[in-house]
Amino acid sequence: MTLDFKHIQAAHCENGVTTSLLQHNGVEKITEPLAFGIGSGLFYIYIPFMVINNGPAISFRTQPGLIFKRTCKALGIPVYRKKFSSHEKAMEALDDCIKKGIPAACQVGVYYLTYFPKEYRFHFNAHNLIVFGKENDNYLISDPVMEGTATLTSYELERVRFAKGAFAPRGQLYYPMEKKIVTDDQIRQGIKTGIKRNVRDMLRIPGPIAGVKGIVFTANRIKKWRDKLGPEKSRSYLAQLVRMQEEIGTGGGGFRFIYGAFLQQAHAYFPANDELMKLSATFTKAGDMWRNAAVQASGIYKGRLTAQQDYDTMGDMMIEIAALEKQAFIDLSNIKWSK
């Protein structure tokens, strides 16, 4: 049985799931950048005492699950979300959704995700996909980062839904519960709230590791990596930073380009607020600067750049980005909304 469902490719899986499921539920105006911005997806954090895949724990986006939750909430759409301890019940609940004609999202781990190339299969558990049908033993999968759709056998799907480790999905199933008409005013309100919350996350979280302060913190650490970690480990750490920033799911430039697109689309809802266009260009610039920093980092992890000065340059580039983003978020917080 195949449900009437339109697969949409997105840069990031959770944005994509949110956009596809909301569009399916009648919210035609929702786009990936709007979902990302209303859900306050942009972030930065470096958790110095945590090690992930033997490298630094760095994230350029907010915590998994929040984008869907916040965006649906902002648009007044009730959400079903459930974790399961029983594998059988988790699969039954999913089959029930298909029978009722509901395309539903699952949180999955990518390590056993058979259609992913081997190089991308790490123990990463915060991936999201949509199940939109079942034929014999094959589930039809809309994986938002892919151009086309895929299939997984029931065994394969069960295995990825119950992947273990950090952020274990525990069979998590979620979808919007009602079709609703969303007004432009609701979207406008969502945009304002989303931006406000993002300002808070980037400027006002206490402590040195999160938001724009976190970028400066990382930059200062990087300057010390060469002496402290040695060249080999520093290379691995920088490579991990670049992967968090540029890998599939980020839309490039550590999500900064998606945020730039969001501000431009927000402008369509607030045509009198021209500063949104200006700030969109600022985030495009920030994204470009992140990419330049990635090129600098790659010089180091390729072994072409080895001097302390090269690490200092990398750190300084990030400090410059932090200053630019700080000003951008201050400007965002000072917007006098026209509506």
């Binding site: 490719q9 997105a10 840069a11 950048p33 895949n53 033997n54 490298g55 390590y111 259609y115 992913f116 190339p117 081997k118 190089e119 991308y120 790490f122 123990h123 980062v145 892919m146 151009e147 086309g148 273990k164 480790g165 950090a166 274990a168 290379r235 691995s236 490579a239 991990q240 670049v242 992967r243 540029e246 890998e247 599939i248 839309g251 490039g252 430039g253 380009f257 998606i258 730039g260 697109a261 431009q264 689309q265 969109s280 260009a281 495009t284 994204g287 470009d288 990419r291 990635a294 090129v295 980092a297 790659s298 992890y301 390729k302």
Partner: protein
């Protein structure tokens, strides 16, 4: 990033899909385009896999030298750490640490070995002999 600057290098992901990127057109309006990969991040991924390869080889050597049990080798081969092995097998981390000692490993019951073999997707015999090299 301008649309015509969306990188088109050949990465591993390209076997599966092109990825969506956000970029601006000549008028500065946001649009999307597909990318086959970017050399900068392709090399970053290579660095990660070289590290993993090295860890696997080190683990292999340790087992051969009698400094660790084959569990260490398969853990590294499957990119697992103690907490991942712990959550899949149900063993406590301190138990797994013990099982990493060759002397303790030798005395493990077949049912315990089976738990490890299952999550590593191998047979108990393969676990004991460390004969399985296709990752």
């Amino acid at each position: 990033m301008k649309k015509e600057e969306i990188p088109q290098d050949d990465g591993a992901l390209n076997k599966l899909t092109k990825e969506l990127s956000y970029a601006v057109d000549e008028k500065g309006n946001y649009t999307t385009g597909l990318s086959t990969g970017w050399e900068v991040k392709i090399t970053a991924l290579d660095v990660a896999w070289n590290d993993i390869e090295k860890r696997i080889n080190d683990a292999h050597q340790k087992v051969v030298n009698g400094e660790a049990s084959p569990i260490l080798y398969f853990m590294e081969l499957k990119l697992m750490d103690l907490s991942i092995v712990s959550s899949y097998t149900g063993f406590w981390k301190w138990q797994i640490k013990r099982h990493l000692k060759p002397s303790v490993f030798k005395s493990l019951s077949d049912s315990k070995l089976k738990k490890y073999a299952d999550i590593f997707e191998i047979t108990v015999q393969e676990l004991k002999t460390m004969k399985k090299n296709d990752a």
